[in-house]
């Protein structure tokens, strides 16, 4: 249980960093890269606690991974492809693409 809670808290905290604005990969400079390493170093202990088990690692990764659909063709010849996660019937779920 703690693993999931830890991952959620760290995820929500990292989400705050987005308030600083998004950047595309091409506009990242050395400082951003160093900052990325510092963030990952600093959050490692908070995420994993003190055990080195596969189970903990898998739970932390599952909790903090992206839970929305991958970008796919949702419009084909101007019409939404039926069954696409981004087709209108799923638009409450994920809004990218529309």
């Amino acid at each position: 249980m703690e693993s999931v809670v830890r991952a959620l808290v760290v995820y929500l905290f990292i989400l705050l960093l987005r308030a600083g604005g998004k950047r595309s990969l091409s506009s990242i400079n050395t400082f951003d890269l160093v900052l990325l390493l510092i963030i990952s170093e600093a959050t490692q202990q908070a995420l994993l606690g003190d055990d080195f088990s596969l189970t903990t690692a898998a739970l932390v990764v599952t909790t903090s991974s992206r839970w929305t659909g991958s970008p796919t063709t949702s419009v084909s010849a101007s019409r939404p492809s039926p069954g696409s996660p981004t087709a209108p019937r799923w638009s409450w779920w994920t809004t990218d693409g529309f």
């Binding site: 249980m1 003190d50 080195f52 088990s53 739970l59 599952t62 796919t72 084909s76 010849a77």
Partner: protein
């Protein structure tokens, strides 16, 4: 289906399969997280503290039923007046359990640590009251981790069974 005007390679069948796979994966991920929150993968939760007792309250062992490899884990042993003999309480931890546990600390500090054919024998002073012992350890096996705590050599005994996730 035609793909006029779109300058990308499309494989309708493959994409449809991918969407189905994604939805199934979301359900599986949600199930894993829910199971972890309930405590099915060790840590806090429904299996965090199980109890086994010997007759007449001489010995009670509190242990997590599910734990994880190398995770800090506690075993609590509560002894009763029936476990005291000559002002001392001797507890024997069976060798099958000791072999799979990396013991970090025993509180209170035992007077003696002794290796016996049955396992590890710890002797505690029981001057004021029968001791409550906490053994802090890290599991060193993966899978089933059974153990027995015995008072003295052949006193009241408690069997318990733990499962260690990799």
């Amino acid at each position: 289906m035609g793909f006029q005007g779109l300058q990308i390679e499309e494989n309708d069948r493959f994409e449809r399969g991918e969407w189905a796979f994604e939805r199934i994966a979301w359900v599986v991920m949600a199930a894993i997280v829910a199971a972890a929150l309930v405590g099915l993968f060790g840590g806090l939760g429904v299996f965090a503290s199980r109890q086994a007792s010997a007759a007449a309250g001489a010995l009670t062992v509190e242990y997590p039923g599910l734990t994880r490899y190398t995770a800090k884990t506690d075993l609590r042993i509560t002894t009763g007046a029936a476990a005291v003999s000559e002002g001392q309480v001797a507890l024997t931890l069976s060798s099958d359990w000791v072999d799979g546990a990396d013991i970090n600390q025993v509180i209170p500090e035992p007077d003696t640590w002794e290796s016996t054919p049955d396992g590890l024998r710890l002797t505690f002073p029981a001057g004021a009251a029968p001791p409550e012992v906490r053994i802090s350890y890290r599991p060193d096996v993966i899978g089933s981790h059974p153990g027995t705590v015995t008072v003295g050599e052949a006193g009241p005994a408690v069997d318990f069974q733990q499962f260690v996730y990799p």
